[in-house]
């Protein structure tokens, strides 16, 4: 048993729903109690879908348990087929149905439905949403895709995008276009947008582009083995990764078409003088493994930030993320415990967080700006405008969205100069965010002694001096000073200690 307050991932059947809802012509019959229908609103509200997810829930009740839940399942399955006439059906159990052991797969098989029925085994008490999506898509491909001849022109499949994915809609458009410019046709994109008959002809492609390892890697591996399709390992998030991705595609396809990367503004934007203030900003990165890996590279190599900590919530990527952390000289945080993430951020006092919606809230509480880089998603993560994370345009989007929460270059200096101005002061927050943003900013100074733990005390003058430092560097100043004090055996921090530390850490 594990006490959970907020979760980064839903149960595995929600992953299966993301696959089913992304696809067309597929229906999911889920053996589940009525309350599990809440999952529909993830798609209709968060993603603003204009159709109900193609899911039928059996909604069994306590009084059915002693009676015939299996019969109920079969009836739901038959009704769903009759009403929706799907090309294929996936069937499975939610956490509760797993316990009553009706075996939806076996039951559906005996019904003689005239379309393929794909049983899913998703262990609800061990695995989570991403696994659910990955396994579901793998099963669909395994059941439906057949070996066939390759297309005459070089083509590929694009694997991994699902419903409710973080910017999947726009990433697919961006990468499809990039592939087109390289002279490569997209054979099938899936799960998002694919029908079961599309899946059947996936074997025609020459190779696969794996955009989201979290939700597509099992299928990609299967296709490599069964259809001899190699798959891409680079996820094209950021300018550097996009160039590497293009090189990888060239190697797989033999394409030598020249690409016009004029649209890539991020590199110049980052080099232009206004961006100098980004140098060495201390960032903490957290999210799913793939987005964290990509964000770390962009943060350090393309924005000039200092990565002070990173981690992911999906254990499947623990090994990769640990290796990455080593390369960056930091400790990897592998956890899905929201409180632990909050604690880590509080201890590290970064100047910025690149995280999920959960970290955005942590940032709000701690007064640290945050840009969202990864699922779990929120209605804000489905903007009306085109806003990919991948490819050249994606790199531009990253630049804009990451610096948006920060105080702008010149503004930072003005804040230093006029820190006591009654309307232009640091408590007002970045001027382009209106007044409301920083109100809910409890300074960690309520318990400075507690925060330092090893009994370093701030003298009143030093505390007052610290408050004169603008909020966006105050956390760093506090931390540096305390480190300095600890290293030098100083137990009382005076104004002098503060400036000694400043000189010590000056870059």
């Amino acid at each position: 048993m594990k006490l959970t307050v907020w979760t980064y991932e839903g149960p595995p059947h929600v992953g299966a729903m993301r696959v089913a809802t992304g696809m067309k012509g597929l229906h999911y019959v889920l053996h589940a109690p009525q309350g599990d229908t809440y999952a529909d609103l993830l798609f209709t509200m968060i993603e603003r879908r204009d159709h109900r997810p193609p899911v039928t829930y059996t909604t069994f009740q306590a009084r059915d348990l002693g009676a015939d839940t299996a019969g109920l399942f079969k009836k739901a399955c038959q009704d769903a087929y009759d009403r929706f006439k799907p090309e294929a059906i996936i069937v499975g159990a939610s956490c509760t149905a797993e316990l009553i052991q009706d075996d939806p797969g076996g039951l559906a098989e005996t019904m003689g439905l005239p379309v393929p029925v794909i049983p899913l085994e998703l262990p609800s008490y061990q695995r989570k949403e991403n696994f659910g999506a990955d396994e579901t898509f793998f099963q669909i491909v395994k059941h439906l895709a057949k070996p066939t001849e390759k297309t005459a022109r070089v083509s590929c499949n694009v694997i991994g995008p699902t419903a409710l994915g973080f910017r999947h809609r726009d990433d697919v458009a961006e990468i499809t276009n990039l592939l087109f410019e390289l002279g490569i046709e997209v054979n099938v994109t899936g799960p998002m947008g694919a029908t079961p008959s599309d899946i059947a002809r996936m074997g025609q492609a020459h190779f696969n582009v794996l955009l989201y390892p979290e939700t597509g890697e099992m299928a990609a591996r299967y296709c490599e083995k069964e259809f001899g399709q190699p798959y891409t390992k680079v996820v094209p998030i950021g300018a550097g990764a996009t160039h590497d991705f293009i090189a990888e595609i060239r190697a797989m396809s033999g394409s030598t078409v020249q690409l016009d990367d004029d649209r890539l503004r991020q590199t110049w934007w980052s080099r232009s003088v206004d961006s100098t203030y980004l140098t060495g900003k201390r960032v903490f990165i957290f999210g799913d493994g793939t987005h964290v890996k990509a964000a770390a590279r962009v943060a350090r190599d393309e924005m000039g930030f200092e990565v002070v900590g990173l981690g992911c919530y999906n254990r499947e990527f623990a090994r990769d993320v640990r290796a990455l952390a080593k390369e960056y000289g930091v400790e990897a945080l592998i956890t899905d415990d929201y409180l632990l993430v909050e604690k880590t951020i509080e201890d590290l006092q970064p100047e910025m967080i690149l995280g999920t919606q959960m970290e955005r809230h942590i940032g709000k509480r701690l007064g640290i700006p945050c840009a969202v880089i990864s699922a779990p998603v929120h209605v804000q993560d489905f903007p009306a405008r085109y806003s990919p994370q991948m490819g050249f345009e994606g790199a531009n989007v990253l630049f804009d969205t990451w610096i948006h929460p920060l105080v702008m270059g010149l503004e930072e200096h003005l804040l230093h100069m006029f820190r006591d101005d009654f309307e232009f002061n640091d408590a007002a927050g970045p001027s382009h965010h209106g007044g409301a943003v920083q109100h809910a900013k409890p300074e960690p100074e309520t318990a400075p002694e507690a925060a330092t733990a090893d009994n370093v005390i701030w003298l009143r003058d030093a505390e007052r001096e610290l408050k004169k430092i603008p909020f966006f560097v105050r956390g760093k100043a506090r931390r540096n000073t305390e480190c300095y004090a600890a290293e030098n055996g100083v137990f009382e921090i005076s104004v002098d200690t503060l400036y000694e530390a400043k000189a010590h850490f000056a870059r």
């Binding site: 048993m1 839903g10 309350g35 599990d36």
Partner: protein, 427 residues
């Protein structure tokens, strides 16, 4: 006494045939009630013993997540808990110990059962007794079921309140208990009205903290402010209390009828009643009339969701000039919903329970001007050109009593007004 509500001349809906279908139900489970109950009871913690699905439901239903550390959480069952129940009890004790050590402000702990905990027959009543012994008198531990196999949406609040009834102290005094979780501001308005009647022993269930002096006995009378409290109603009757049946206090008429029933019970004079209620009644009528301009002559279709459907349909048809086409409710309980059904003009199809696909067919066929439904259905129906009102908003927003009557009408008017505004802009 003030003029009583006149039942419609065409006859009410109390004896209308009820359509009952069995199929997929598109509703939340009772766990959802935790979202508002934990705000109401400020010293309570709700510990769901369930699965990752339960945790995800709570997080998703809360919509905008309340990211401060909330007073609820889920003890997620893992493989090893399923294997041995004894171990599961030991694990639960351990989680509770950690929780209570970390949150010394907690005075009442609710162990909330879920589908998985019930299917594996994890006896939370036993656990609650054991933990009460361990933590009394500082913390009271109770249990109830919020599972989807036992409860529908608002029934979670019912189960929670019902679990508190047996442990309330006994009294021989005559008192009035008002039952149902209301936003504090609304509760204060209600208490002020009753205070104006000169009734002074009034208690509210649930109370804001465990320290309230609420007690129950043979001389207790109680009134419900929410139509989904069937089990609590039964539990109070078992303790000897008597129910004051009345329509629910939504809209000017409903509030007046509800207060009239209480006034009659306590022998409040007409003059006093008039003095206390005339000003807020007038305000409520005016406010409703304004929103009713948009609603007048429009039709409405209710999907079953919160059990608020019947009183709401009564309000919309009688006070806002709407026509109800179908009024669906997850459950209909005559002793509780009867007075509202009496007042609602005959005509609509009354339905109990759900087969969502068949009901969607009927809704599309009827093409109502306004459809009241859950979040899973709203956008898809909007995309088909039907205006919708999310039912969950009616549970989260202050809608009871006089001062909110206008807001209640406005909630229904807003989607229609919005549609007309956007329609003009699009041309």
């Amino acid at each position: 006494m003030t003029e009583l509500m006149t039942p419609p001349r065409s006859g009410g809906c109390r004896n209308a045939p009820v359509l009952k279908q069995r199929g997929q139900r598109e509703v939340f489970c009772g766990l959802t009630g935790i979202i508002w109950l934990h705000r109401k009871m400020q010293d309570a913690f709700f510990l769901v013993v369930g699965s990752r699905t339960c945790a995800h439901l709570l997080q998703s239903a809360a919509g905008v997540m309340i990211f401060a550390e909330p007073r609820f959480g889920t003890a997620i069952l893992e493989e090893s808990d399923l294997a041995g129940l004894n171990d599961a009890h030991a694990e639960l004790d351990r989680e509770v110990a950690t929780l209570l050590a970390r949150r010394p402000d907690i005075r009442q702990l609710f162990l909330v059962g879920s589908c998985p905990s019930e299917v594996i027959k994890l006896d939370l009543t036993r656990a609650a007794e054991r933990l009460t012994q361990q933590y009394a008198p500082k913390v009271r531990v109770l249990d109830y079921s919020g599972s989807g196999i036992e409860t529908t949406f608002t029934q979670g609040e019912d189960a929670c309140l019902a679990s508190m009834v047996p442990v309330l102290p006994t009294t021989e005094a005559r008192n009035l208990v008002v039952v149902g979780a209301l936003p504090d501001v609304v509760e204060d308005q209600m208490l002020a009205l009753i205070d104006g009647f000169g009734i002074d022993t009034v208690h509210v269930l649930p109370s804001r903290t465990i320290d309230s002096d609420i007690a129950i006995g043979a001389n207790t009378v109680f009134a419900l402010t929410q139509p989904f409290l069937g089990d609590t109603h039964a539990a109070l009757i078992r303790r000897g209390a008597r129910h004051i049946a009345a329509p629910f206090p939504m809209g000017e008429e409903g509030t007046t009828a509800w207060l009239t029933a209480i006034a009659a019970e306590f022998g409040v004079s007409d003059e006093v009643f008039e003095t206390v209620t005339s000003a807020p009644r007038r305000r409520a009528r005016q406010a409703v009339a304004k929103a009713a301009e948009t609603l007048n002559g429009k039709s409405v279709f209710f999907f079953p969701d919160s059990q608020l459907e019947i009183p709401l349909a009564r309000f919309l048809t009688r006070e806002c000039g709407m026509t109800a086409l179908e009024v669906g409710s997850p459950y209909i309980h005559d002793a509780i919903h009867g007075p509202d059904l009496d007042l609602m003009p005959a005509g609509p199809q009354i339905s109990e329970g759900q087969d969502v696909d068949l009901q969607l067919d009927r809704c599309r066929e009827a093409r109502p001007d306004l459809t009241v439904c859950g979040l899973g259905l709203a956008n898809p129906l909007e995309a088909e050109g039907l205006s919708t009102k999310w039912a969950i908003e009616l549970v989260f927003t202050p809608v009871h009593f006089y001062e909110q009557a206008g807001d209640l009408a406005a909630l229904f008017a807003r989607p229609l007004r919005r549609k007309s505004i956007l329609g003009v802009a699009a041309e």
